[in-house]
């Protein structure tokens, strides 16, 4: 299955992935309209220290602890993509407790949000990867 992989060596810490993510999940068609004057809560996040930076988003594990641990059944695997049923999630954050990558975060309306490889929005494939100027994140089969 194609996943987002990180090539830390090439991450510039430009944070564009975060903005492309936030835009992709905004359901707006214009990035300015989507992101102007807001503080973004992207599903991919840069960790940065000194000259090291890299992006972290859901790894879409084959044996996902978050899904196994989910108390409501809101998290499930659909064709390899771990997605969240926002209608079912009640924001207990057991998945945040479980995720070894720190890739799940609290979203708006006190439920969780996570990368669904943009299968949940109109872009269809990870928009963060499209926004990365240096192939520091790639969407591929490994």
């Amino acid at each position: 299955m194609k996943r987002v992989y990180v090539n830390e060596q090439w991450c510039l810490g430009c944070h564009l992935c975060e903005y492309y993510c936030a835009f992709a999940n905004s359901n707006e068609t214009d990035m300015v309209k989507a992101l102007k004057d807001i503080v973004i809560h992207p599903r991919i996040q840069i960790e940065q220290k000194d000259n090291i930076s890299f992006a972290v988003s859901c790894r879409h594990c084959e044996e996902p602890l978050c899904v196994k641990g989910c108390i409501t059944g809101a998290l499930s695997i659909n064709e390899g993509v771990i997605s969240v049923d926002q209608n079912k999630c009640i924001g207990c954050f057991t998945c945040i407790l479980c995720c070894p990558y720190g890739a799940i975060s609290a979203g708006d309306e006190s439920i969780i949000q996570k990368c669904e490889l943009c299968t949940n929005n109109k872009h269809g494939s990870p928009h963060c990867v499209k926004g990365c100027p240096n192939n520091a994140i790639v969407f591929e089969e490994r």
Binding site: L12, L16, Y20, V32, L35
Partner: protein, 501 residues
């Protein structure tokens, strides 16, 4: 401030309606032009340091940025132009020679733009490269004057060693040091993928790149940096650099500050000491001396490597080339006055040398007149900008072209011509690790391969239009060229007719 104040050349134009404060411009500008004003919650730009490299423009996700030329001006004067005045201010302040990068930007005629190509109509069919084979393979090197046969009458291969290229394009010399490790890796990998060669320049060859040896030209320049037996044997060909189009008659100087780590190792220059390439080779003061070096290099490598002699296109280039063609060299590389550089004295770059088109035409004709054109192949460089320049160069008589600036552009260079600062925002002309990493060779090499591939397609299209299906039938085929707006003299030197003739 005061007498030494120079108004900035460029202004950052930020469309505040589009800016989303993502701060990518701030993070990506090594010149620290952009900053975030926390109090006002807006981005600010200090134009003074802007070099117009477009890094911020290119990465801005909302297209909120553009760079505009300032309309700040001196009183109009066609003679004392603003740039000239500013240069005087700079020199009056610094007392120093002005330095510039990349190629001559001044408004001299570009002969390629005044030459048009032919195409077949009716009497001779054009050839569709999508339907018919269209060949671009070239061999560089000297050709034997006669054939030999074995006792059974079979032809004996009496060719001296040469270079085989899938397209008549090579990446010209750019040293590791003047450009980054990642830029070199991109060039090396692209050369391998595209079936062509790249050139180490005078910076030696990093150990990591020995694996690309069969696609590498190793250069021997006046400083002899990084030159030793393994190096000479590592490449597919050896180039003796006698001159460079951007700075004929001038040596090079890589400051000690840049001679660190791998660069020091690769150049074989102690860390921190300046790497100075003298203006001449101090063992070559005449053509006989050059011949000695050519044969020394051949001896060293058991006559297994063709030797290229690279010269700058200067006034008597034809006579010089004639001498080189009799020196044992296999290939002559001629670099026109628009050729690029990592740093050169501005006055030299902008005022010395001649256009490559004229140099090529006169060299090719001279060697033919002397019957020694087969002794050598001719490679030309110095602002080959696109595939039609290549087609024209080959029709004028070149075997192959060198591309340098075009290759860098493919890697992201935006021709801001600030290489000498070492703060290349595109990770090319810099050694600063956080800038170098901006050029991912996976991307870089692909883009170079794309460029070469695209040009190959275009060359084939143009050849097909002319009814030519193999590039050797284009070489020196000046009937395929016509001049527009050129004087009799220029047409004569180029050896072409005027359009309409």
């Amino acid at each position: 401030m005061g007498i030494n104040y120079l108004y900035q050349e460029y202004e950052v134009s930020r469309n505040m309606d589009r800016c989303i404060n993502c701060r990518v411009c701030e993070r990506q500008c090594a010149n620290e032009v952009h900053s975030f004003d926390k109090d006002k919650n807006i981005m600010r730009s200090d134009d003074v340091n802007c070099v117009n490299c477009h890094r911020c423009v290119a990465l801005c996700p909302t297209r909120a940025l553009k760079i505009v030329k300032t309309d700040h001006t001196f009183k109009e004067n066609a003679n004392w132009r603003g740039s000239i005045i500013n240069e005087i201010y700079k020199q009056a302040e610094s007392g120093a020679v002005l330095l510039s990068s990349m190629g001559n930007p001044n408004n001299y005629p570009v002969y390629f733009d005044k030459i048009l190509l032919n195409a077949s109509q009716v009497t001779n069919p054009s050839i569709d490269p999508l339907r018919e084979p269209m060949e671009t393979k070239v061999f560089l090197g000297s050709k034997p004057k006669s054939i030999q046969r074995d006792k059974d009458g079979r032809l004996i291969n009496n060719l001296s060693c040469g270079i085989e290229l899938s397209v008549p394009i090579m990446f010209s010399a750019m040293s590791y040091g003047s450009i980054s490790y990642n830029a070199h890796e991109s060039l090396a990998r692209a050369a391998k993928e595209a079936g062509i060669l790249y050139n180490t320049g005078e910076g030696g060859l990093h150990k990591d790149f020995y694996q690309y040896g069969s696609n590498t030209i190793v250069q021997v320049a006046s400083g002899r940096f990084g030159v030793y037996k393994d190096y000479l044997e590592a490449g597919a060909a050896i180039e003796i650099k006698m001159g460079q189009g951007a700075k004929p008659g001038i040596g090079g100087h890589l400051p000690g500050a840049k001679i660190v780590g791998d660069i020091s190792k690769t150049r074989m220059v102690p860390e921190g000491s300046d790497a100075i390439s003298p203006a001449p080779h101090h063992d070559i003061y005449s053509i006989e001396d050059l011949r000695q070096l050519v044969y020394s290099l051949k001896e060293t490598t058991n006559y297994k490597k063709p030797v290229i002699v690279k010269i700058a296109a200067v006034h008597n280039v034809a006579a010089i080339a004639s001498g080189i063609a009799r020196s044992g060299a296999d290939i002559i590389a001629i670099d026109g006055f628009r050729g690029g550089t990592g740093a050169a004295p501005t006055r030299i770059r902008d005022n010395v040398g001649i256009p490559i088109e004229l140099a090529l035409a006169s060299v090719d004709q001279r060697l033919r007149d002397e019957g020694i054109r087969d002794n050598v192949s001719i490679v030309v460089g110095g602002s080959i900008r696109n595939s039609s320049d290549i087609v024209k160069a080959i029709a004028l008589g070149a075997d192959c072209v060198y591309i340098g600036t075009a290759a860098l552009l493919a890697l992201g260079c935006h021709l801001c011509r600030s290489c000498q600062t070492g703060k290349c925002n595109w990770g090319i002309a810099t050694q600063s690790p956080e800038l170098v990493k901006r050029l991912n060779p996976d991307i870089g090499f692909k883009r170079l391969v794309n460029l070469v591939g695209a040009w190959e397609h275009e060359i084939k299209e143009m050849m097909g239009g002319m009814g030519i299906n193999s590039i050797e039938s284009l070489k020196g085929n000046r009937l395929m060229l016509r001049g527009v707006g050129l004087s009799e003299k220029e047409l004569q030197i180029l050896g072409i007719k005027h359009a309409g003739e």
